[in-house]
Symmetry: D2
Subunit: 333 residues, 4 copies
């Protein structure tokens, strides 16, 4: 039996999930779609507004790709209707709102998976596998480089929650995922160096974040909103038995030499090229989880934790001091 | 308007083309399929035997993926019915038969494209682009490494036409494609070194082939039926202004270091992983060509030339001497 | 005329300088040597104790490679005798002592160069050149990885001044050198994770240090006393116009593939192999500076600044807070 | 006791050996030098013409770096005087002359080593070690790329014996060395494509040479006199258990990325930079061999075999046919 999925939001990401489910996941089918822009609708799939879709008896699971400020409401509605949910990150920009929503989810027998798609990237999965196989030994340091080719628009930036909630949140999740441990302290240094849209939005664009884990191991993340050479996504794990890192993916493997120098291709420029396969692998995992074949790989708690780290980083910058996390709370010194 | 395609043969390659057309080429649709094994048929596409399919008024173009010994017949039938053809390589193992078939094709107003898919690989296209842009200058040497992870079955080997017609034929086409010039002389050295299936089939498995082009430039191809580390597909072009090479594609970019050494992933092991995208790009090119948007990128003459080179290489090994090509003929010294 | 050099201390580093001057720098000669261990003395070079050597009329310049706690005294004596000095880092572990010594040096007309040899490494010089040529644009982030293959002895550790003064001091100098700007704030996170000698010496072995520069740009350094795969020395610069990084040097370029995987050589394991050429280039620069052909590339002020950063990092760990630098002072918040 | 060495010829190569022995091989000393150009003589080493040097009682071993046409005479004189010899390649351009000289050498109790320095390069030694350790299994194919950055002068070319005797001879030796087997057949394809000095000297500049070994394994060498991007020296071995290759050495490991692309350093441009260490390792091996600590690693027979391969390649081009080698003779088909 195919899993019957409804999709809310057919923008850039929603469309990726739509195509993946429709053409590449035979175990599932898209039975209904919803979007405020009706021009985005495919001809041959029934349309319903979000409420209708969530409540429709044909829909077993809902994929939420609408704007961030709708996520928490839709997730709670799905939970109440007994529908499984895949929700794009973040669940919400407010920790309180996330906690309330997760409380609702816990009261109903549904699966909730969050869209931290990078966990499903072949490079990062390989590093995680090396850690899990013991090849790294006790992990002592994780290093994450995450840089965008260009900042988004001023409008986007203003409603994004800022660098940490919008961009670093992926790296916070990655650090927890690779380490398999919880962070106890966050220190963030940040600057606005690229001008342009970021300056206009009065945001930061460059950050170095240090995470201390319970056992003294550490992670360090560096971010930029503007890497002129493209999308830069690298990761390194260092431990008592070894070290491993992954480099960027490139569109081809050529190397060209002439009298002036040697040149290769640049990294894949856009997140949709870089993470094409991770979106598919992620959605396959969601389908399997709903079908009871594996536990949900990224749950609501993971979303809460990543958001807590983003909030802590924000406070660390504001107060210029490390910020402590205790359980599910951000604690100031 | 979508191009209406019929597919003959739904084995490994036929299935790739079927899925590519159905899910990834909106400009075309599969309207009929044919295979001797009816279990391979999809439920929702009409079935017809090869003759019916070729003659069916709904079919505008035919994709031929059936066994090699059926290719020439089907191509000629398609030509007579006025149907455009995409035919997997080789057109036939006999030069005479290829010439006859191409003569029939020329008498009818159809497009014929041959499935030398490697021309559509991102790595090789990049090298070709560097040549075309003049970055290499006058090309003086092309080097091709092409090694399979393991030999095919004895049965396959016996009907394959031998290493040169079965495997090197791709490299012969690649050499002509990258060089953009014609070969005037072939010398091939070959051995049987891997034992097993190849020995049983009384074939060769290891070869070094030197091609001399009209202007004194050269190409050298090395082949093996058995590379224990996987599928090895590399290319280098060297000329008066520069040199470029492409390396193998790997499943991930990790590098792992411990006290014993540093390790990375092996090349993608199987031709279907390595050339996934090239099959799609190739079929898109066929659809565009039939729709008159571009000339056919790989025509019947290309198939004839590659086969001539394979036959010449075979004769070179048998006579242990270089073999000359004059126009469309193989000439012994 | 050859520059007449006396060398104090013929241990590991002193011996490198001795051989470099004797065999590879025709513009200089070793006219006298000094070491507490007379067995280390070469047969054919006059011996003198440190005081004699510094005061000897034949000696124009002194290379100081004796233990750290003798550096300041010898430098001051050299200054008073009008002898130019090349002194291994650090000048001293105490900021006050360094300041006093530099005050003495300033009162005499001599050249003082400090042995931050990594500035003369081909890889790091290339990155610095890219920065100076404007290829990076405004530098926004420098990342330094510096890991030793194994911790030194407990005795060494106890008198070393700790990780920051002994090991990170090179990286502090490198960050200032590449950036060409001064640090205004330091935050250091550190742990003891490797056990063994470091635990016995009650020291730290793993650190992540964030530096904020005057203009909002940043540097991040990660250190470990124990990288089981060898000596790890990498650097990356990121800016408004581009990014560049350098990888480790390896003893050979081989790549080996078999059915299990693909393997390459490990990085050069020992600092004396890794930095062989940098020691020679450094000493050539000293000779040229004394001969008035170029300014001293690494002066006493550079030693003071690097030590200040180490002291600030130490205080940052102790107080778990960022520490500010104002001019030549470390200021607590 | 130090080995007492006399050097004949202090040109480019002679000077390398002079400095290596004098400054880097404590087990040997240079006791006499000889050169037709007296300006090249060092001040503090006795001078003697070639005959005097060879006959001088202080000289135990002679390093011959004079022009090729003097080699055979000097080697024979050394043999008669009982002096060990290190002779730069080639021993002579004539096979008959080489055979005569080796016959003289065999009548005297001396060591003769030939200067195939590439056997002592770290990259190539690593590949040889992998072969010897069985990591490659049965070697089935060796691939050698050897390209010079620019052709030598017309005068040099005219007296060089041609591409095969001057340049490929190193690769012939390398193929035999790595394979550890003898060649039974040679086929060479060659062209003149670079114009300039090579055209003026009426020589060839581009070649692809196929070697068949006794057991059916093969080697393929490609050469060019003019690679605009620098000195290109690569090697690959392929066998039943694995494959290994070595890449060019570069002056630094930097990689630079901007909006236009990604760039690295070019290979080391000049043979004296590329093979600096191999010359030293080679001379150390000679000293050890004379002192009886190891067998001579490259003997007169190796020089004869490499020259035979060069002569056979030359004949293969002239006759456009493979040429057979039987024992120590070149046999035409």
């Amino acid at each position: 039996m195919q899993l019957k999925i409804g999709i809310i939001g057919l923008g850039r990401i929603g469309n990726i999930h739509y195509n993946n489910i429709r053409y590449h996941i035979p175990e599932a089918e898209v039975v209904m779609v919803s979007d405020v822009d009706k021009n985005r609708m495919p001809d041959d799939v029934p349309y319903g507004d979000a409420g209708t879709l969530i409540g429709h008896p044909d829909v077993e699971a809902v994929v939420i790709c609408s704007p961030t400020d709708t996520h928490a409401n839709y997730v709670a509605q799905c939970a109440r209707e007994g529908k499984h949910v895949f929700c794009e990150k973040p669940l919400d920009l407010s920790l309180a709102r996330i906690r309330e929503t997760l409380a609702v989810v816990r009261q109903h027998d549904i699966q909730l998976m969050l869209g931290f798609n990078r966990r499903f990237d072949a490079n990062f999965m390989k590093l995680k596998a090396l850690v899990d196989e013991g090849k790294i030994g006790d992990v002592q340091l994780v290093k994450i480089t995450s840089r965008d080719p260009a900042p988004p628009s001023v409008d986007y930036l203003k409603s994004s929650g800022g660098l940490f909630l919008d961009m670093t949140i992926h790296d916070f999740d990655m650090a927890r995922y690779v380490m398999g441990k919880e962070v106890k302290e966050v220190y963030a240094a940040a600057s606005a160096l690229t001008g342009g849209a970021v300056a206009e939005a009065d945001d930061i664009d460059t950050a170095v974040v240090t995470l201390k884990f319970e056992d003294g191991s550490m992670a360090v993340i560096d971010n930029s909103r503007k890497a002129v050479y493209g999308y830069d996504q690298r990761l390194e794990v260092f431990g008592s038995k070894g070290m491993a890192h992954v480099e960027n993916n490139k569109p081809d493997t050529h190397m060209y030499y002439n009298g002036e120098g040697a040149a290769s291709a640049l990294p894949l420029h856009f997140f949709m090229e870089r993470y094409t396969m991770s979106y598919l692998t992620e959605m396959k995992a969601f389908v399997k989880s709903v079908q009871g074949k594996q536990p949900v790989p990224v749950g609501g708690g993971d979303g809460l934790k990543a958001t807590m780290l983003a909030v802590a980083a924000q406070q660390s910058v504001e107060r210029n001091t490390p910020v402590t996390l205790v359980g599910e709370n951000v604690v100031h010194q």
